[in-house]
Amino acid sequence: MTENSDNYSAAGEVGAVLEKRTFWTRLKIDMKKSPWTARFGMLIILFYAIMAIFAPFIAPYGEAQVFATPYAPWSSEFIFGTDQIGRDIFSRLIYGARNTVGIAVATTLLAFLIGGAFGLIAAIDRSYIDQAFSRLVDVFMAIPSLIFALVLLSIFGSTVLNLIVIIAVLDSTRVFRLTRAVAINVVVMDYVEAARLRGEGLGWIMRKEILPNIMPPLIAEFGLRFCFVFLSIAALSFLGVGIQPPTADWGSMVRENASLIQFAQYDLKAGLTPLLPASAIALLTVAVNFVVDWFLHKTSGLGDEQ
């Protein structure tokens, strides 16, 4: 027998102590183990946040300030030149962080509020309410959401509020599905049954028993949905039916300056100009995706089986 020879009794079993870690030490360990992609992603997100919050202090010119020379080349005065009516592109890029990202965040939050609440109710209820919601969502998801958004925008017109509400409602269907699916896995757990047996109310069960346990997948989904919403709004703006001028927005900036790309042969910088707002969009989605990928990998336990 080995060093554990006395350990088989109940007392030994009771005495066995597994390591106890606090939240912060866990976070530290996680950060230490995080791959470069995730760290890069977090850095970029931080950078965008600073740009969005402090836009008026960072940008050299105003969002809609018009100068005399349209399509001015890159220079020390206009770092990335001016656009078709003479606005400073660099300033508009910075303001774009505030507008484009801000609208996407607001839309995603709204989508989670709607989809999350209904998803939770459906998961707990599991009766005709669940049936009704689920069938409705099936139908909504039977039409591609971009097409649906186009139809709705053609009816209600392209205002920022309409855009937020329409995209949020369409996207909330996916949040509903996910919330419902993960919540159902939690609802069948014995500890939820134990709470019901104890006589706890619905509010307490939702808040204390279910919500904390579905947070990790929902947080990851928030990142993914944000990317999707962000790209959808960018696509709509690019198509000219999203965020309307003069608001500085990356999607519309691509559209407005797209013709410059033809001049790349003569002036590469001018040719690159329409790609700047496009890459601003791409960089943020890449960053969010990297962070979400790591987060999913970590919380799903996939990290254990490499």
């Binding site: 134990a194 006589g199 204390k208 089986e305």
Partner: protein, 539 residues
Amino acid sequence: MSSNSDKGDILLEIKDLEVEGFSDEKWHDIVKGVDLTLRRGEVMGLIGESGAGKSTLGLAAMGFTQPGCRIRGGEINFDGIDLAKLSDVIKRRYWGTRMTYVAQSAAASFNPAHRLIAQTTASTVRSGAKSKEDAYQDARGLYAALSLPDPQNIGERYPHQVSGGQLQRVMTAMAMSPRPDLIIFDEPTTALDVTTQVEVLSAMREIVETFNTAAIYITHDLAVVAQMADFIKVLRYGKQVEEADTRSMLSTPKEAYTKSLWSVRSLEKEEQKGGQSFLSLKGIDASYGTIKVLHNVSIEVAKGTTVAVVGESGSGKSTTARVITGLLPQTAGSVEFDGKGLLKSLSERKKEEKRRIQMIYQMADTAMNPRQTVGEIIGRPLEFYLGIRGTQKSKRVLELLEMIELNGNFIQRLPGELSGGQKQRICIARALAAEPDLIICDEVTSALDQIVQEGILKLLMRLQMELGLTYLFITHDISTVKAISDQVVVMNQGEVVEQGQKTDVFQPPHPEYTKLLLSSVPEMDPDWLTNLNSGRREA
């Protein structure tokens, strides 16, 4: 090694084998230097608790490691070849031909897309040992030898078309089809009900004997391994504890750990006579949707006693618990508790009634919210039922922890930071916090290792003495019933077959089903299966 050296030449010799697995970003030892010798025609029993490394060792005997594991050192000499040094491509020539494997879950281990007979004979046909026709013919013979129904045609079916016990036998036929030198049985009967287990065990033992095949039989159940093995190796924490031939291992185990594996079977409670009825179920019918699962169930539970409800899966024993707690309103009959009728549905019952009946679950893992600390878990019933808050509450939580033999350090822990036995103790403390009169224990020990089971059962018995609790103990395990109960209720297919004092139920004469159930429970006697089968054949 003492046993059966006359059986034949050495077939498998493992020396100082080390296997490790990758998790939490580093390598952990799973098997730490094990030696093993197996001769032709011998059956070795490999026994140990969860995490002992017995499945890993069993697979490694074939030179196989699961994804994420690797062999770090040692030799695996199979008939003169060191498998540890060969590539998978070479080892494949041995797998499925000279060494075969029988998995725990046959239902998941058969490919749903192919017919059984094609899967049974796949490796035999691939190796060219037999033509397809011959292999099929031989497989039908094996099906017959394993007493499968309709052996000529059962092979034409798909895996989902036959029952679990039958699939396990088909898998044994599949392992036997190439007439291997060695078969690894990895917990092949663990997922089966006892009455099915007996049939499968008999079939497997007979066919291994018929072909004189060497085998390694992996299980956590000593009584099962006693029927199958010539000698037994006990593993713990990836190391050998002891090895001996089956009879001497059963009669005179040497190591303290091995002795402790026997202990739950010696645990016995002095039987209490049933007094005045405390909980009484009268003519209960219940259904899930349109499927009726309980038929006219009547059970009496006396105050301060333990009533064990025993039955196999689908017997309705857990459903009975759901009716008592109000989770599943009955369609007919009544539940009376302490002289008063309980309303059918949970939402109609008073808080006080809910407080007095508490429940403990089989899987402590899922019975506790992983995001709440032990303090919160135990503290909530105090607050909810008894209105105890603040320092009063923390004081009471400490007292409760003491009652379940844990100290105050546990208050801040999350369930993920506890061992299996500790988790179940916290669940007991949560039930106690409500100061209940009746506790329903639903298979509370069946997910735990044997030694831990004993600790939990002892704790429950002590608490009953001290607090005068009444238990309704739901289980499928007869030895647990013997250990803890005063009265026994036997259930089968939603009906009560028999109920009464423990001594009466365990004494003949028995109703037909009780007889079958009791006789199917493996005993720690190497001759038990032989005697049982000859007895059943005569009858």
